[in-house]
């Protein structure tokens, strides 16, 4: 692959220009993803994890705007694309899976209509061969009797099945990059297990890169190769899953891991991060985590720049845990 990753994001800033002021939803985010790898993007509500995903796909609406940064996919800088080129890219080379499949599937169209549309939008093939492709992907995401299912409407399906259909539509044109925004959050545990299993297999087989956006570190632990932890619009820590989860350096990562019930003694108080996530509007120059941080020192009055404490790891903290 000549050293160039599938996706490279450098210094991405996406701000919302509202009447009340500028909201820095994504602030200086850099990441890279290779083919066949899974990158977990973890954070709490409002951390900018979904907005990072939307920015990569060029799905940011006013009053939001990408202020600076480079997004390079397959060696092409996405900022240079015009509207027609974006249309050729989305749903074809890059696909997105959203949290709520009820919102992404059209309730008044049959599954076959919605799937065939995705194929015909990008390929000059007959409807019959498009349908053949639909049957194939439905089978791959674990939907039995695809012929029957193709003629059904979204409301005929359970939540888990709908999400499988949404995943099938994302995969239908064999994309290079898939961005999945909390696709299993609304699903039950056993169904989540099935979907994680399918996604893992599909990425390994097809060599697509996958960005998995979630608030759940335990899902990332089982699925991803690398992880980026986001807080208030910035990636505060990143590295391989083993490094970051076994030896968290940022106090926020450590706090998140410690507050997971399964890692605490049952019945005893959980280790908790005090306070709450700051409002992004009017965030000062200080480190956004400073108010909640047990390791805060004087230097934290200025947001720390990214440092490289070890090969393959990045960190934004003046006083990291060893």
């Amino acid at each position: 692959m000549s050293g160039e990753p599938l996706l490279r994001v450098e210094g991405l800033r996406m701000h919302f220009f509202t009447k009340a002021g500028v909201v820095k939803a994504v602030d200086d985010v850099s990441l890279a993803l290779d083919r066949g790898r899974v990158l977990g993007l973890v954070g709490e509500s409002g951390s900018g994890k979904s907005m990072t995903g939307y920015s990569i796909l060029g799905l940011v609406d006013a009053p939001g705007r990408i202020v600076s940064g480079r997004i390079v996919l397959n060696g092409v800088d996405l900022a240079t694309l015009d509207a027609a080129a974006w249309r050729r890219l989305r749903g074809n080379r890059v696909a997105m899976i959203f949290q709520d499949p009820m919102m992404t599937l059209n309730p008044v169209l049959r599954i076959d209509t919605q799937m065939v549309e995705a194929v015909l939008a990008h390929h000059d093939v007959s409807r019959e061969s498009a349908l053949e492709r639909c049957r194939e992907v439905l089978g791959r995401v674990g939907i039995a009797s695809p012929d029957e299912r193709l003629r059904a409407y979204p409301h005929h399906f359970s939540g888990g099945m709908r999400q499988r259909v949404a995943i099938a539509i994302a995969l239908i044109n064999k994309p290079d990059l898939i961005i999945a925004d909390e696709p299993t959050t609304a699903l039950d545990v056993t169904i989540q297990g099935q979907i994680l299993f399918e996604m893992q297999k599909l990425c390994r087989e097809s060599g697509a890169g996958l960005i998995w956006i979630t608030h759940d570190l335990s899902v990332i632990a089982g699925l991803a190769d690398e992880v980026c932890v986001m807080y208030a619009g910035r990636i505060v820590e990143s590295g391989t899953v083993d490094d970051v989860l076994s030896h968290p350096m940022h106090p926020y990562t450590r706090g998140l891991l410690d507050s997971i019930p399964a890692r605490n003694v049952p019945g005893r108080p959980l280790a908790q991060i005090p306070g709450m996530t700051p409002a992004l509007l009017g965030l000062g120059p200080a480190c956004a985590f400073r108010e909640r941080c047990s390791r805060a020192i004087e230097s934290c009055a200025v947001a720390p720049a990214e440092s490289r404490p070890a090969p393959g790891r990045a960190l934004r903290c003046f006083n990291p845990a060893a």
Partner: protein
């Protein structure tokens, strides 16, 4: 259960059916030969449950298993279609009189969605203070002092009183919901997915609040959740439900360490764990069946890796497999 002292709360053979009758057009269509009929959902099917004083019972299961219906029946929001409910050893009906008002208020519910369960047009002082005044627990003139005290108990400042729900974050709204339940001095809280909508760091704060309140006020909880990690952390005893039936129950540690029912086993195996890296998921097959048309015999048999021919026909009975542990599986015979 200890025979000498009745459990604080007990359900015996409780079932709940939801019936959807055909509307006018449907009835005409049926006359004309359409194959339509009234539909019945068996949300709960012969569920028995006992909760001792001061105990935390965790109720776990996936969507549609009837865990919320059970919580609502315990909290008097719904009546069971059949079966009996007991509070301190006496049937629920025995507390219908005016003099037993305090006993009726003793079971309170905390709802899942901290956004939808608070009236957006009411100030916090009214949300928390209305019920205790109506029920005569505090005089109207004492209301603000009382609300301030309840808010302090859940870790909120008395200054919050004058504000409206939209001015609070999810975690603070959860605390307000808890304060509203505590305001009528309950003994028993039904927590229906009380932390499901919260971020991880906030979830830990609210779980700690539940643990602290239990110690301070001697509360008993029925803690309903789909999150096995949360259930394991807070509960003394766990009840696992599948499609309206209890499939297994037992002390938390024993149940997590050696699950007996294949469904419990699968559920525990599927939970993502931080310490399991890049694991190979071995998912359980199939969908959760619709409660409109549940499978015959054991409800779990179509997905069960160990199903026998018998599982298709015969409903397994919930039987004791070890002291304090019950399981409904034919494999135990």
């Amino acid at each position: 259960m200890n025979a000498a002292t009745a459990p604080l709360l007990e359900l015996r053979g409780v079932s709940r059916r939801f019936e959807s009758r055909l509307d006018f057009a449907g009835r005409i269509a049926r006359r004309l030969g359409a194959r339509l009929s009234d539909t019945t959902v068996h949300a709960l099917d012969d569920v028995s449950l006992a909760v001792g004083e001061g105990e935390v019972v965790g109720l776990v299961g996936e969507s549609g298993c009837g865990k919320s219906t059970l919580g609502r029946i315990v909290a008097r929001i719904l009546a069971p279609s059949s079966g009996a409910r007991f509070w301190k050893g006496r049937p629920y009906d025995a507390y219908d009189s005016e003099s037993a008002r305090a006993e009726r208020l003793a079971v309170q519910m905390i709802f899942q969605d901290p956004y939808a369960s608070l009236n957006p047009r009411m100030r916090i002082v009214d949300i928390v203070g209305e019920a205790p005044v109506v029920h005569g627990l505090v005089a109207a003139g004492e209301r603000e002092r009382y609300v301030a005290e309840v808010l302090r108990r859940v870790g909120m400042d008395a200054g919050a009183m004058r504000r409206f729900p939209h001015q609070f974050s999810g975690g603070q709204r959860s605390r307000i919901g808890i304060a509203r339940a505590l305001a009528v001095q309950p003994r028993f809280l039904v927590c229906d997915e009380a932390v499901a909508a919260l971020d991880v760091s906030i979830q830990a704060q609210v779980l700690n609040l539940f643990v602290r309140l239990r110690e301070e006020l001697g509360l008993t909880y029925l803690f309903i959740s789909h999150d096995l990690g949360v259930i394991r952390h807070v509960s003394d005893r766990v009840v696992v439900m599948y499609l309206g039936r209890v499939v297994e129950s037992g002390p938390t540690q024993a149940l997590y360490e050696s699950p007996n029912h294949p469904y419990t086993e699968a559920l525990i195996a599927e939970v993502p764990k931080v310490d399991a890296r890049r694991r190979a998921y071995v998912p359980i097959r199939g969908e959760i069946p619709s409660p409109l048309a549940p499978p015959t015999g054991c409800h779990f048999h179509p997905r069960c890796p160990k199903a026998l021919a018998r599982c298709r026909e015969e409903i397994p009975r919930l039987r004791e497999i070890a002291p304090g542990r019950l399981s409904a599986c034919h494999l135990n015979d």
